[in-house]
C-alpha cells in the first residue's frame, strides 16, 4: 500500500503507541536464546534475534487451550467462548510470517476452525526484515522466505538511522495514521532505497540446501523409499517431539478432558501433539500405523515438503531451522534433504 519512515530513536514511541490499544509481544532475550514475550516498552525487546525457541504461533494456537467447559453428566458444553485482547506480534521474521500463512491455510479451510479464526482476527503482524542470515541452520533462501512478500500488516526494514515501514493493510494503515512519529516521503524514492538495501542484503544469504525450490517436491516424490536416509534418521531420533513443538507450521493436536478434583465438571481442551510420539497414530486395539521412528520422521518431512504441496500448493517448511537447532540427536534438516538429493544422484 504505502511506505513511511520511522526514526530509530522513535522505536520506543512506536511501541508505546501500539500499547495504547494492544497487547504487544516481541522477541525478548532469554539466556542465550530468544522468546516471544509481552513487553512493557521498546527497551525490553531484542530486534536482532535468531528464530525464537517457540514460534509466535503460540498466540494464535496456544499450546493448551480450552474448547469449552462442561458439567459432569451433561452432554453439551456450556461455555465455548475464548478471551483475547487485540495483540500485536512485533518484530516477526519473514519465515515466521510464512509459517502463519501455512496455519491460516489449514485452519481457515472449510470447516474453518473457529478458535483459530477468532484469535487470528485479533492479531496484527508487524514484521521485521532480516538483513543478515541468522545462523548455519536456516534454509530460508531455498524456501524463498528471506524477503518480505505478504502476510503482514506492517513490515519494518532497517535503513541505517531509520526504518522503512511498508504498510500492507487497513489495520496497519490505521496504526500509522494514529501517530505523528512516522514521516511521509516520496514513495518512489523509498522504494528505490529499499531495492538498494535488498541488493546489498541478498548476496549475504547463501543457499544451504542443494536442491532448489522447484526441485524439492519432486525429490521427495522419489525419496519415500530411500530407506538408507530414513533408517539413519530413525535410528538417531529419540521421539521426543521437540522438532514438532518448535515448528512454525506444525499444528497437530490432541483433545483431552480435564476434570475438576470434586468431579463436578471440567474443561475439554486441546493441546499440541506430535506425530513423532509412538502412540500418535495408534488406534484402539493397539494397531499402530507409524510404529517405527523412521516412518514417523519421514512423515514429518513429508508433511513439510510433499503432502502440503499436493494439498495446498505450499511448502510447510519455512526454512527457520528450529527443528535442527533444537534436536538433541542432532538430526539436521539440511543434512537429511541433501542426503536425499545425493541418493537421487547415485541412482
Amino acid at each position: 500500500m504505502r511506505y513511511v519512515y520511522l526514526a530509530k530513536d522513535d522505536l520506543g514511541k512506536f511501541i508505546d503507541l501500539l500499547k495504547e490499544k494492544h497487547r504487544v509481544v516481541a522477541p525478548v532475550k532469554k539466556e542465550n536464546l530468544f522468546v516471544f514475550a509481552d513487553i512493557s516498552g521498546g527497551e525490553d525487546m531484542s530486534l536482532e534475534y535468531i528464530p525464537t525457541i517457540i514460534p509466535p504461533k503460540k498466540y494464535i494456537m496456544p499450546q493448551k487451550e480450552s474448547l469449552g467447559k462442561f458439567d459432569m453428566g451433561e452432554v453439551s458444553m456450556k461455555d465455548t467462548s475464548i478471551e483475547m485482547e487485540p495483540t500485536v506480534i512485533f518484530g516477526m521474521h519473514t519465515c515466521d510470517i510464512d509459517g502463519l500463512e501455512c496455519l491460516d491455510v489449514v485452519f481457515h479451510k472449510d470447516p474453518a476452525d473457529p478458535y483459530y479464526k477468532k484469535r487470528r482476527k485479533n492479531v496484527t503482524i508487524i514484521g521485521y526484515e532480516c538483513m543478515f542470515p541468522c545462523d548455519e541452520y536456516a534454509t530460508c533462501v531455498t524456501m524463498d522466505t528471506h524477503v518480505p512478500k505478504a502476510g503482514y500488516d506492517i513490515m519494518m526494514t532497517d535503513a541505517g538511522d531509520k526504518y522503512i515501514l511498508h504498510v500492507n493493510s487497513k489495520q496497519g494503515d490505521a496504526i500509522i495514521g494514529s501517530g505523528n512519529i512516522f514521516k511521509e516521503a516520496d514513495q518512489d524514492a523509498i522504494k528505490k532505497e529499499l531495492k538498494d538495501l535488498r541488493e546489498k542484503k541478498l548476496p549475504k544469504f547463501k543457499r544451504a540446501l542443494n536442491p532448489g525450490y522447484k526441485e524439492l517436491q519432486p525429490l521427495f516424490e522419489k525419496s519415500y523409499n530411500n530407506t538408507g536416509v530414513w533408517d539413519d534418521v530413525g535410528r538417531r531420533c529419540v521421539s521426543c517431539g521437540n522438532c514438532t513443538a518448535v515448528c512454525p507450521t506444525c499444528y497437530c493436536f490432541d483433545v483431552y478432558d480435564d476434570v475438576k478434583l470434586d468431579m463436578s465438571g471440567g474443561e475439554r481442551g486441546r493441546v499440541w501433539d506430535s506425530c513423532q510420539l509412538n502412540e500418535f497414530a495408534e488406534v484402539a486395539g493397539g494397531e499402530n500405523f507409524r510404529e517405527e521412528r523412521s516412518s514417523r520422521q519421514r512423515h514429518r518431512y513429508y508433511r513439510k515438503f510433499d503432502y502440503p504441496v499436493r494439498k495446498h500448493d505450499k511448502f510447510f517448511c519455512t526454512g527457520c531451522g528450529r527443528c535442527t537447532r533444537t534436536c538433541m540427536a542432532k538430526i539436521s534438516l539440511i543434512e537429511t534433504v541433501n542426503d536425499l538429493a545425493k541418493g537421487e544422484q547415485d541412482v
Binding site: R23, V75, E85, F107, Y224, D273
Partner: protein, 286 residues
C-alpha cells in the same frame, strides 16, 4: 508486565467441537465385547448421514471416540440411528456401561460415505470381517431398501468363531431373501457348527462375478484387506471397483488434528472409505 487486560474481550465460538445431546433408546449386548445402541438426537433430529460415515461420541471426563454408524439413512424411523461398539479402550468401556435412557454427546456425521452413486446399476459384493459388518450393514440395508437400483448382491461374512457373529437375526433375514446371495465362514468352530470353516478369502473363488459391472465393498481388520484385495484382483476386478473403509484414530473429525493422516490423506475427511485405486501405493494405508 502487561497491564492491558482491560482490553480483553470475550469472543463466542461457533459450536464446531460441541457435541449435541443423544439419548440411548435401546441398548443390548450382542457378544461378549460388542454392544448395540440405538440413539435419538435431541428433538428427534435426523443425523443426516450416508452409509460409511461415522460420528464422534463424547462422554465428558472421558473424551471422544469415532464410531461408525451402522444403520442406513433409509431406515424407517429417521429419528434414531444405530451403532455397535466394541469394548476395546477407556472410552468404549465406559460407553458399554450405558443403557436405555442414558445420554451421550454426538458430533457428526463425518467422513466420505461409500460411493453410493457409483455403486448404482452395478452388481455388489460385500465382504465383511468381524466388526467390519457394522459399518457395512449401513450400506447393505441401504441397498436392500433401494434394491432395484442395484444388480446382483453377494454378501460374504467372516468372523473368528460362531459366537462372535453380529446381527444374527437380521442376517437370518438376508439369508432368506431371494435376491441376495449370502455366505458365512468362521475361522474356527466347535464340531456342531454346520457352516463353513476357514478364512474369508476361501469364499471368494466360489462367487460368480461379472467383473466389468461389479463393485466389491470390503470392511474388516487391516490384516484382512491385504488378503481379500489380492483375491479380488485375482478375479480381475478393477482396482477402482474395490472399496474399503479404514480405521484410524480420529480426534477432531475436521481434517485438522493430524492423527488420522495416511500419507497425504486425512481419513476423517478424505475417507474413511477409499477405493483400492486411491490407496494402493500408500505404505501407511494397509
Amino acid at each position: 508486565m502487561c497491564n492491558c487486560s482491560e482490553n480483553k474481550k470475550v469472543i463466542t465460538i461457533d459450536p464446531l467441537y460441541s457435541p449435541v445431546e443423544g439419548t440411548i433408546v435401546k441398548a443390548c449386548q450382542m457378544t461378549e465385547n460388542e454392544k448395540f445402541f440405538e440413539i435419538r438426537l435431541e428433538g428427534g433430529k435426523e443425523l443426516g448421514h450416508m452409509p460409511g460415515q461415522f460420528v464422534q461420541f463424547s462422554l465428558f471426563g472421558i473424551g471422544e471416540a469415532p464410531i461408525s454408524v451402522s444403520s442406513s439413512p433409509t431406515k424407517e424411523d429417521k429419528s434414531t440411528f444405530e451403532v455397535v461398539v466394541r469394548k476395546v479402550g477407556t472410552f468404549t468401556e465406559q460407553m458399554h456401561k450405558l443403557g436405555e435412557g442414558d445420554k451421550i454427546g454426538v458430533r457428526g456425521p463425518f467422513g466420505r460415505p461409500f460411493p453410493v452413486d457409483d455403486l448404482k446399476g452395478n452388481d455388489l459384493l460385500f465382504v465383511a470381517g468381524g466388526i467390519g459388518l457394522v459399518p457395512l450393514r449401513s450400506l447393505i440395508n441401504f441397498v436392500i431398501d433401494r434394491r432395484r437400483d442395484f444388480g446382483d448382491v453377494n454378501i460374504l461374512l467372516g468372523c473368528k468363531e460362531p459366537k462372535d457373529r453380529l446381527f444374527t437375526d437380521e442376517i437370518a433375514e438376508w439369508e432368506k431373501m431371494a435376491d441376495i446371495n449370502y455366505a458365512c465362514t468362521v475361522d474356527k468352530a466347535a464340531p456342531d457348527w454346520k457352516g463353513n470353516v476357514g478364512v474369508i478369502t476361501t469364499l471368494i473363488p466360489g462367487v460368480d462375478l461379472d467383473v466389468n459391472r461389479t463393485y466389491a465393498v470390503v470392511v474388516g481388520p487391516p490384516i484382512m484387506y491385504k488378503f481379500v484385495v489380492a483375491e479380488l484382483l485375482k478375479k480381475d476386478l478393477a482396482e477402482k471397483h474395490i472399496v474399503l473403509s479404514l480405521e484410524r484414530r480420529m480426534k477432531c473429525g475436521l481434517g485438522k488434528c493430524g492423527h488420522c493422516q495416511i500419507n497425504d490423506n486425512y481419513v476423517c475427511q478424505d475417507g474413511p472409505t477409499f477405493t483400492y485405486d486411491e490407496i494402493k501405493g500408500l505404505e501407511e494405508a494397509l
